[in-house]
Symmetry: C2
Amino acid sequence: MSPDGRQPVHRIADDLREQIASGALPPGGKLPANRELATQYGVTRMTASRAVATLVAEGLVETRHGSGAYVREAHPVRRLGPDRYARHKWQVTTVDAFAADTPATGDSVSQQEGQTQEVALVKADKRIAESLGVETGTDVYERARVVTREGVATHTMTSYYRPNDVAGTPIVNPRPGIAGQAGGFQVLNEQGLPPHEVTEELSARMPTPDEVQVLALNPGEPVVEVHRVTRTAEARPIEYARGVHVASRFRWAFTYEIPD
Amino acid sequence: MSPDGRQPVHRIADDLREQIASGALPPGGKLPANRELATQYGVTRMTASRAVATLVAEGLVETRHGSGAYVREAHPVRRLGPDRYARHKWQVTTVDAFAADTPATGDSVSQQEGQTQEVALVKADKRIAESLGVETGTDVYERARVVTREGVATHTMTSYYRPNDVAGTPIVNPRPGIAGQAGGFQVLNEQGLPPHEVTEELSARMPTPDEVQVLALNPGEPVVEVHRVTRTAEARPIEYARGVHVASRFRWAFTYEIPD
DNA sequence: TAGTGGTCTAGACCACTTC
DNA sequence: AAGTGGTCTAGACCACTAA
């Protein structure tokens, strides 16, 4: 059945891949053990192991040390459209505010359902500076968050603001309730800088080892880097943000008219 | 200097990664040979080889069989904004039309600078059908292209049209000059179905083995899947397209107003 | 022809999971 | 305790590249 020109690793990987595609190995299903594959195909365990490693790198399979290798379950995918920035979402944000631990100044970390948050004053790098319309090296407020969903990290998002725009606001003195992008927009709105327009830039790549840690990425899982600039109706930039998303959990949708 | 808790592969990979980050190993630079790394770190060649393989999977390094392993050069990245669909680009398309080989019907393949093209009549799958507003299983025209840039494949793009919309046009009877998305828009425009609005959906993932072949992907290179629906001003869908882009060669930019 | 990466075997030890 | 994945050694053959 299988003309044997290919190398053992490929032969095994292809067979497994096909079994996954055909449904013979359903999502969540367990692959044959390394040692079993080895004897089945008449190869070393190392070779069998590398075949499975191939599938892991392709994002089809996930291994659990000491337990086995399993066909990866499809994640629920969240579709991100312009609606997620909708005005009504940040004008009525319910603030379940019970300030348990709110340091008055300096760096601070707060943890709440779905995300951690960390605020600091940092020097603007070139991209931040250009996006916010300030000089490189200027102080800007950085608000870094790691967003989780059902206990799993899905993306990081770090916002930058001009200090004058957010001085004295809950952004620099975080408390529970001021969360995520909606919270940021709300504050800017109250500061007389209502968000009106955003520009987003997307690119995909493999993660750095750091990101693998923070986002608990499976090997072979790419990430999407997002850069966002938010402006007022007068085109004044009020926020620059960059984030790293676990690719398999998101889908981005955009609709726009064709320009002349 | 290096507290030895880590495994050999990690130790070597980390060292190399750092040398790349610091510039000690510049883009295009050659890594030490497998055998050299092996003796340097007192490990087997297999182990050294796997360290390099790690970096390949991260997209930092590229190996050339028989030659060596090299730090990957940064590609020129193309920024894709709404402008690429601009009206003026498909209203004035210069058609250097000299029909060398234009079969009158059926499948056909034409090759020209920058892309191959293949046209066929196929049954609409669910997604195509929903996007074009036809029944699943209906015949639709499929126009598949592989786009290259400086001799390297950068992405595939496959468009689908309702047969009635494109019957008798150069789309179903391709000739040089009718190329890419601009050519398709031009034809639709001439058919009285001027493109007015597009919806794009992006997601990133690791490539299938097929895509690795077609796009000549380096191992560890993710792809971005793009779905596009084009509509007239009356919101009538006239084209559905899906493509697979080499992630490292593109960046997508979108600007839009915040909805209510 | 010499150097290089790719791959495989055979055997081993370890760490983790499951019962 | 048994089963599993992760990793490593030591040695080998192959295919490709470059001079």
